[in-house]
Amino acid sequence: MGGNHLNVNKQHDLNDSVLRLENATIQFGGVIAVNDLDMYVDDGEIVSLIGPNGAGKTTAFNIITGVYAPTNGAVYFKGKKIIQNHPQGKMKKMYSGKDAEKYINLPVLEPTPDKITQMGIARTFQNIRLFKSRTVFENILTAKHLRRTSNYFTSTFGLNKDEEAQMREASLELLRVVGLEDVKDELATSLPYGKQRRLEIARAMATDPELLLLDEPAAGMNPQETLELAEFIRELRDKYHYTILIIEHHMDLVMNISERIYVLEFGRLIAEGTPTEIQNNEDVINAYLGVGEEDA
């Protein structure tokens, strides 16, 4: 294995990256789910994170979005450190990862997921998590709550009429963009699978993010739909200048839209590069693509 620090990219200033993970490690009991992960995503890039089932991809997302605190390591967003931790309590003795001493004297930063979203990172979920009692429109409108300027009192007594109208207008606009305007008053969970995935993306967009994390957006889609989704994601990036990180199993989609790809196996980074580089990487072919092909 060629070491974990593969991003020896020439003349690349990591402080310019929108997202950067540094030695990110998470250990549950005796199992290390994500091991010493270093990666970055640059402004306006579409990057994919791939790997066999159980490789730690979603766990990496959960670290970035604050669902899990890493056991060790740090996460930077737009050059600013937002998450940082070192082994604590029982983990002090149990920790079997690397670089514990590097962060031991640095302050612990463990923001909750809502704070991360507030900063401008939004996500979708692998197992769709829409607000099930609400309509398509209300799902989007709910996500607009984050950027409110009104408080509990003013919004209750209708003293924020303008803002409320803006929220509604912006939500409608988003539905138009993702092509769900015609079903806006239907119950979110009554939509077909592909549209629910689109709605999840739209809901994430409603929080006004700079970085979008999409967890298996094409899961359950047929080749045609997958192709449309790829086009759609690229359009969104171009239109709103998002930076996008995707977890995906559909290789067509990954190879189609990614500018760079990271490959994880057993929590470790085994390769990084352009789609062509990854397709020709021996480690990846051995560890992943061979198995993946049989699966598909």
């Binding site: 979005t65 939004a122 609400r134 709910t142 919004s155």
Partner: protein, 399 residues
């Protein structure tokens, strides 16, 4: 938006007409009438309607299963009572203690600005009752709101019991009168308004008005952006948090708001019953309110109001006969004796819980369209009965 405004206007008119009718009933029905039961139902019903709606805000909309309602109502009832007992009556009420509070807000204000001061004083006392309940809720919420579903339920239930014990503690006797009841404070039966020679009775109107205003505010909260955030937390906590909703903050808001209105309903209960006694506010009261919410439909405000009034009118009025030997013309003193009404009632509730899990309204709200459609729906339903009976028999034959 125009359509919304028109709808709001119609709702407002309906509410005002309703309040007008209540005010009228207050004048025409004398306490000795047969129909005086209607006033009792309206009074108690509005107390419980507010209690149920405020519980629904927390349990139904925010999805936090809390069982501490009786505790917050107790705080409200006692706060209101302590603040409105006239000074002269205090010695008589606090027989075994030296009363710590030596003034009554309505009394102080009425001395200052005349009769209007009494009304203002009552209003201030009611609001303070809500605020104190809210304050307790904040302190309790800090440790408790992190807990999940049933653990939250049992912890809030526990806090309600702790609150009850504190209010009954003899060392706090100068404030709470220990385990004895509080009485002699401003109560609805004395609420009157003199206009020239004519005296307007307000004993039913006032509680109905307070409940209407409070429930109206809760409706506004539900429809606001915060209300949407609450529902998001109920639907999916993890997704809500990922959409930037601060769980701790919003759960606390919902908990404190719910308790604020529970406190107000407690104060209303004190003024309707003319007494406040800690031993009445047991967990059984919380269970009853919960069952009203379930009856009306968890997640529906109009459902909770209907549930509460149905609960009160059946148990206080329509099923009374089941307790006293004769009901709907059936006379069976052996079976229809004390307590039978509650048994029938609990059976009905179990049927709702088991077979009509959505309650009367589900999570829908009562709308004008729905009411308009009623005659048609009822007609269709009646017309479909013969078919239903037929299909019932044909199924049996098939077997």
């Amino acid at each position: 938006m125009k359509k919304d405004n028109k709808k709001n206007f119609i709702s407002l008119v309906i509410v005002l007409v309703f309040l007008g009718i209540v005010l009228l009933l207050d004048q025409v029905i004398k306490p000795t009438d047969n129909m005086s039961m209607l006033l009792t139902v309206l009074q108690k019903g509005s107390v419980y309607a507010l209690a149920a709606v405020s519980m629904n805000l927390l349990n139904g909309f925010t999805g936090l299963f809390s069982l501490g309602h009786a505790g917050f109502m107790l705080i409200g009832a006692y706060t209101y009572a302590m603040l409105t007992i006239p000074d002269a009556a205090r010695a008589d009420v606090y027989q075994y203690y030296d009363p710590a509070i030596r003034f009554s807000i309505p009394e102080v204000l009425s001395n200052g600005i005349g009769p209007a001061g009494t009304a203002l004083g009552v209003l201030i006392a009611v609001i303070i009752a809500g605020l104190i309940a809210c304050l307790f809720a904040y302190l309790i919420g800090l440790p408790v709101l992190k807990l999940k579903s049933d653990y939250l339920a049992i912890a809030t239930l526990g806090f309600a019991e702790i609150i009850r014990a504190i209010f009954q503690w003899s060392k706090l006797g100068p404030l709470t009168n220990g385990s004895n009841l509080l009485k002699g404070f401003e109560r609805t039966s004395t609420f009157k308004l003199a206009i020239g020679d004519f005296t307007l009775s307000l004993s039913t109107f006032v509680p109905v008005l307070i409940a209407t205003i409070c429930i109206w505010i809760i409706v506004l909260i539900k429809n606001s952006t915060y209300g949407r955030a609450f529902v998001a937390i109920r639907d999916d906590e993890i997704a809500a948090e990922a959409m930037g909703i601060d769980l701790a903050h919003h759960k606390m808001l919902s908990f404190c708001t719910s308790s604020f209105f529970a406190g107000i309903s407690g104060a209303m209960m004190a003024m309707v019953l003319s007494i406040a006694q800690a031993s009445n506010f047991r967990s059984a009261m919380t269970y009853e309110i919960l069952l009203m919410v379930v009856l009306g439909g968890i997640g529906s405000i109009s459902g909770s109001v209907i549930g509460a009034f149905l609960f009160i009118s059946t148990s206080e009025w329509w099923l009374r006969g089941l307790d006293s030997g004769k009901w709907l013309g059936i006379s069976a003193p052996g079976i229809f004796r004390n307590g039978f009404r509650l048994v029938v009632f609990s059976v009905i509730i179990m049927i709702v819980v088991l077979f009509f899990r959505k309650g009367i309204m589900g999570d829908k709200e009562l709308t004008l369209e729905m009411v308009k459609a009623w005659p048609k729906n009822i007609f269709n339903w009646i017309r479909s009965i013969p078919k239903k009976i037929k299909s019932l028999f044909s199924k049996k034959e098939a077997k």
